[in-house]
């Protein structure tokens, strides 16, 4: 009797994973290492499933993850996709994502934390629990902090109910490293550590254009150049949050465009409604220096 051969490709295609990965590629710009890692995890899960079907030893894989990276690098978005992916592969029953922070897990007085954490865990069961800024859970400077209690409950559920719940921790890289160093139990239960790199200027511009496309707007060629400049300068300023900063900047540009259209007499066409001009971006506080130069040029 010959062993039946297995078409891994067919199983892969059948699971609908490719669609999720394709969407990931199309809608998320940059993040090459992250995408590669997710592809690897997806492959592992498909192979694991086949192994299980063949009755080969396949312990329930540990799927808990940690996403580290600066703000606005797409951690939440990827977590959402991850939930979808795990659902398609049959490792998560509902594929929903519950996003929480320290406030949702840790209580304010003795005996408040455990029920609170448990309630969140129960809500997330069958799906993915996304803990943003997870390092806040642990406050070494205050030994009576209730965060430790939340961590203990979390650890217990992460270990005992691996089939029911996938936990994704997210936060800044250096602070997460300190967090894991002081909670070795947490670190050892997390199989996948994924680091999100900062976006390059080109990528941020592409992201901006994608966002505008979603809103049915576009940048005029000159605005494009100005926006590139804006990104460069914005990066140098404090509280730069990658894609989030781009999104906020575009929000404000949209505001100014609307104002400009109304001030300009109000007779417009469809193209004007859709186009963000250079001056809409130039009015930004970030580009104050550039604007001054442009003004003197215009005056002379």
């Amino acid at each position: 009797m010959t062993e039946p051969s297995i078409d891994l490709r067919a199983i892969w295609n059948e699971s609908g994973v490719q669609a999720v990965l394709d969407a990931l590629d199309a809608e998320l710009i940059g993040l090459a290492p992250v995408k590669k890692r997710i592809r690897e995890i997806a492959s592992l899960l498909v192979v694991d499933r086949v192994r299980r079907d063949m009755q080969l030893a396949a312990g329930a894989p540990s799927l808990h993850m940690s996403f580290t990276g600066n703000p606005g690098t797409g951690k939440t978005t990827v977590a959402l996709r991850m939930a979808d992916l795990l659902h398609k592969l049959g490792y998560s029953r509902t594929g929903h994502l519950v996003a929480v922070t320290r406030d949702d897990l840790v209580g304010q007085y003795i005996g408040h934390t455990a029920p609170k954490t448990k309630e969140v865990l129960k809500k997330a069961m069958g799906g993915v629990l996304f803990i943003d800024e997870a390092y806040y859970l642990f406050r070494p400077e205050n030994e009576r902090d209730y965060g430790q209690e939340a961590i203990e409950i979390l650890l217990q559920v992460m270990e005992n109910q691996r089939d029911d719940l996938v936990v994704i921790l997210a936060g800044y890289k250096d602070r997460m490293e300190t967090f894991f160093r002081s909670n070795p139990g947490m670190s050892s239960r997390i199989a996948h550590h994924i680091d999100f790199p900062d976006y390059k200027d080109d990528e941020l511009l592409a992201i901006g254009e994608l966002i505008l496309k979603d809103w049915s707007y576009q940048l005029s060629p000159r605005a494009q150049k100005v926006f590139r400049d804006y990104i460069e300068r914005r990066r140098a300023q404090p509280h730069f949050a990658n894609a989030r900063s781009v999104r906020n900047a575009l929000d404000r540009a949209r505001l100014r465009q609307a104002h400009r259209l109304l001030e300009g007499g109000g007779h417009i066409d469809k193209a004007a409604l859709q186009t963000i001009e250079a001056e809409d971006i130039l009015q930004s506080r970030v580009l104050a220096g550039v604007r001054a130069v442009a003004d003197t040029k215009a005056a002379s």
Binding site: R93, T94, H96, P115, K118, E119, L121, K122, K123, A124, M125, G126, G127, V157, Q161, D163, D164, L165
Partner: protein, 145 residues
């Protein structure tokens, strides 16, 4: 015996069936959740048929998507009260319904003595009937142990 068929009290759904397995309980809860009902867990050691208000084990669980969390809570309640009656209830908050839609027992004491039928002679020799649980003769917490 009329009041204690098979030495098991029969209240709520499925009570004439053998005890539900965890998989069956999960399936029932799943049904409740797909209907958008809030599931809660209650326990008591006074299972008189007219005792509608059992003790709540934690708050009712709203906004849950998956039965695993409720099963976890059921198991914890069973561990805390191994010799109590534990039931799972589903509550529909639909306007106009606003009442429990499901209720079934998931844990029973090992030994269920049942109920005594008491007859009381009233005016004109009219008989009033009432049932009393044999277990409730003992104080709370010591019944069924």
């Amino acid at each position: 015996m009329m009041t204690n068929t098979g030495n098991r009290i029969t209240q709520g759904q499925f009570s004439f069936l053998p005890d539900l397995t965890d998989a069956q309980i999960t399936a029932q809860i799943k049904y409740a959740l797909t209907n958008g009902w809030a599931v809660s867990i209650e326990y008591t050691d006074d299972p008189h048929p007219r005792n509608t208000y059992w003790e709540m084990y934690g708050n009712p669980m709203f906004d849950l998507k998956d039965p695993a969390g409720i099963l976890m809570e059921i198991n914890e309640c069973r561990k805390t009260f191994p010799n109590y009656y534990v039931r799972v209830m589903a509550f529909s908050s639909t306007r106009g319904v606003e009442s429990p839609t499901m209720s079934f027992i998931v844990n029973r004491p090992k030994n269920e003595p049942g109920f005594a039928l008491t007859r009381q002679e009233g005016p004109g020799r009219q008989i009033h009937y009432t049932v009393t649980s044999y277990a409730t003769a003992k104080p709370e917490g010591e019944r069924y142990s």
